[in-house]
């Protein structure tokens, strides 16, 4: 990210003033998200535009040293959740509390020191004209955390060792590395300023199967070593299950279910979660032959024309009249198992 880019990414002051209420987030939670919404205006004609509700009234929290997995199909808004809570997009509505403080335009720069992001595509997320040392060291420069050049270099080398890269390669450019190594560079960059929280947005989906496990295990080891919290966004449910303490499921901008990993796998309540989890291809012939797939009818509706009430009702086998009229509340069904469904 160059300084030019940063100016563009700094949110416009059109939304979300610091909430002046006296709410204090739970000290156990590193992140609390309350009724977060992000709508984009999509032009449909010269004067016409429609709001695209990428994220609509989503609430959740992440505890310290915890990994929350976020799954859903393409277009369900999981990436937008990650980017909105990093304040890369100013939210349309809702509050985000990070590390005890509400995020707003005034403090987001300071708070971002403790939150970082690892992106999906290790090919386009690294600047091809910068050396590895500059890529990893850039955030150190931005946040002015070193005094001399040598100090910075030392920190970069330390980071490279941490992610399993050879420090002799610090002067190379990104194109000289394989996909897995590039993702390691991206992770070293995210770790540079000692963040407490990292958003991993599809961080392993571009990698080969044999490389995926290297990176997944590294995320786990780094979490133990550096006390990190993760929001782990991915579409691969087996990968998310492996990584996460709790899993949240999104459908068309809404969260439909959130529970502990074992609980949601053993006992999914929302009909969408049930079909999504049953559709996972299991690399085990016996289990695969025995399991019954719940195959959904039809396709996901366009996010520009989300069905009224419960967004899932058009494909739901249990839909009733009530589902079309009212949006189901996202309620705790006991033991932190949240579900938004009228009928289950």
């Amino acid at each position: 990210m160059t300084s030019e880019d940063r100016k563009i990414l700094t949110p416009a002051p059109d939304a979300a003033l610091c909430p002046d209420d006296l709410y204090r987030p739970d000290p156990e939670n590193i992140l609390e998200v309350h009724n977060l919404s992000k709508h984009f205006d999509i032009k449909t004609g010269f004067f016409k535009s429609l709001p695209l509700k990428a994220v609509d009234d989503v609430s959740f929290f992440i505890k310290y040293k915890e990994t929350l997995g976020l799954v859903g199909e393409s277009g369900c808004g999981k990436t937008t959740v990650g980017r909105t809570l990093m304040w890369l997009y100013p939210p349309t509505a809702g509050d985000v509390y990070f590390d005890g403080a509400a995020i707003c335009d005034k403090n987001v720069r300071a708070l971002r020191r403790n939150m970082q992001m690892v992106f999906q595509d290790p090919y386009s997320s690294l600047n091809p004209r910068m050396t590895v040392e500059d890529i990893i060291g850039e955030s150190l420069t931005i946040h002015r955390v070193y005094k001399t050049k040598e100090e910075r270099r030392e920190r970069v080398h330390e980071l490279m060792r941490l992610v399993g890269l050879n420090k002799e390669h610090a002067t190379r450019y990104a194109h000289e590395f394989s996909g897995g190594q590039r993702q390691r560079i991206g992770i070293a960059r995210a770790l540079a300023i000692n963040p407490k929280f990292i958003v991993c947005d599809e961080s392993v989906s571009a990698l080969d199967v044999s490389i995926q496990a290297q990176i997944l295990n590294m995320f786990k080891d780094l979490q133990d070593k550096l006390d990190l919290s993760y929001l782990f966004i991915a579409h691969d449910i087996l990968v998310v299950t492996y990584m996460s303490d709790r899993i949240a499921v999104m459908y068309l901008g809404k969260m439909v279910e959130l529970a502990k990993t074992d609980e949601i796998n053993a006992n999914p309540i929302h009909p969408y979660t049930q079909s999504l989890f049953s559709a996972v291809p299991i690399p085990d012939p016996v289990t695969a032959r025995q399991s019954k797939r719940i195959v959904l009818e039809g396709d996901v509706p366009s996010p520009l024309h989300v069905p009224s009430g419960c967004a899932f009702r058009t494909r739901c086998p249990y839909a009733t009249e009530q589902c079309a009229l009212e949006t189901p509340p996202f309620e705790d069904r006991g033991d932190e198992h949240y579900v938004a469904c009228w009928n289950r």
Binding site: G164, S178, V209, I211, A213, N217, I237, L276, P281, I282
Partner: protein, 345 residues
């Protein structure tokens, strides 16, 4: 004994690039029986797609088949003139691609494109053609065919487009359907629909299917036989249960340990060390040896030959050959024993 309809013998395909010859497929052989489902698994660069393209002879420049035979019901497809091959393509062997967005022509309607395939490959004429198109669209589970044939590809969702591609591939009831990563671009719930459709049509028409994928989950409940490829060679082949429950090649074993296997197990994954292979500089011995924790001296020096392990399974791995011939050869110390998972250089 079932009838063998496709036999690939010693197929080699290379890409002649400016940087040198890239050997994408290195002398592979396999057979496909009538009505069977064969899975080819491998990572990117393992040569699985190139194998399919070689069979269909749709390799793009600078790729070329450099050796071997592809026998379809006894006819060597590689010796056929272009014009003859064009008849086989689509009529006897069809292929569906990974990306349904780019394999349909955006400026023609769905109906137009289906009609074309039917007109070229069957004797149907006039109104019969459109009739058949509508029938095919219904067959692949698309509602309201009369409206769909008038639509353009961009008006359909990804899953729908893949269904149209399948309809087109089935237009002349081929003997073999090759599915090259048919669901990689699709979401999980749509993937389940498409896999179910392929399985349904397979049993309905009794065609043979080759499914090419990098995702072991996709083929676990669909295939009769599986071939595992690495760096252009076949490492191991066997029935689905052979491959998943008693893998013999070190690569297959490692691969299965490195993927999450179910929604329940919390077992820690064991990654495969090292980086993917560079096809420009293939090692002299086994291509997997530089990443293999059980590699011996001979693995680095000599390419292992495939040996039968049971009636259904065979593997090309020196470790098996050593264990099989343990009486004659001293067991050697692994040279990469100190290699830890996660190391990168």
């Amino acid at each position: 004994m079932a009838e063998t309809i496709l036999e690939v013998r010693n197929l080699s395909t290379s890409f002649f690039t400016d940087a040198g010859e890239v050997k994408a497929v290195n002398g592979i052989s396999f057979e496909l029986e009538k009505g069977k489902v064969l899975g080819i698994v491998g990572e990117s660069g393992s040569g699985k797609s190139v194998t399919a393209y070689s069979i269909m002879q749709i390799l793009s420049f600078p790729g070329r088949v450099t050796g071997g035979e592809i026998l379809f019901k006894g006819t060597d497809l590689l010796k056929l003139p272009d014009k003859k091959m064009r008849e086989f393509r689509g009529e006897s062997i069809s292929i569906i691609f990974q990306d349904p967005m780019t394999s349909l022509n955006p400026v023609y309607t769905i109906g137009n494109q289906l009609d074309e395939a039917i007109r070229l490959h069957t004797n149907r004429k006039g109104a019969e053609i459109r009739q058949r198109s509508l029938e095919l669209i219904r067959l692949v589970g698309i509602n309201d065919p009369a409206r769909r044939v008038k639509q353009y590809p961009h008006e359909l969702s990804g899953g729908m487009r893949q269904r149209v591609m399948i309809a087109m591939a089935l237009a002349c009831e081929p003997d073999i359907l090759i599915a090259d990563e048919p669901t990689t671009a699709l979401d999980v719930t749509i993937q389940a629909q498409i896999l179910e459709l392929i399985a349904d049509l397979q049993s309905q028409f009794g065609m043979a299917v080759i499914i090419i994928t990098h995702d072991l989950g996709v083929i676990a409940d669909m295939c009769d036989e599986i071939i595992v490829m690495y760096a252009g060679s076949i490492c191991e082949r066997g029935t689905t249960d052979d491959i998943f429950y008693s893998p013999k090649h070190e690569y297959t074993k490692n691969l299965l340990r490195s993927i999450p296997k179910s929604q329940k197990s919390a077992e820690r994954l064991v990654p495969i060390a090292g980086n993917p292979i560079d096809l420009l500089n293939l090692p002299e011995g086994c291509a997997f040896a530089p990443r293999c924790s059980a590699a011996m001296k001979i693995c680095l020096e000599e390419h292992p030959h495939e040996v039968a392990i049971s009636a259904t399974q065979s593997a090309a791995c020196w470790v098996n050959i050593r264990d099989g011939l343990a009486m004659q050869e001293e067991a050697e110390e692994p040279v990469n024993a100190d290699m830890e998972g996660g190391g990168s250089q």
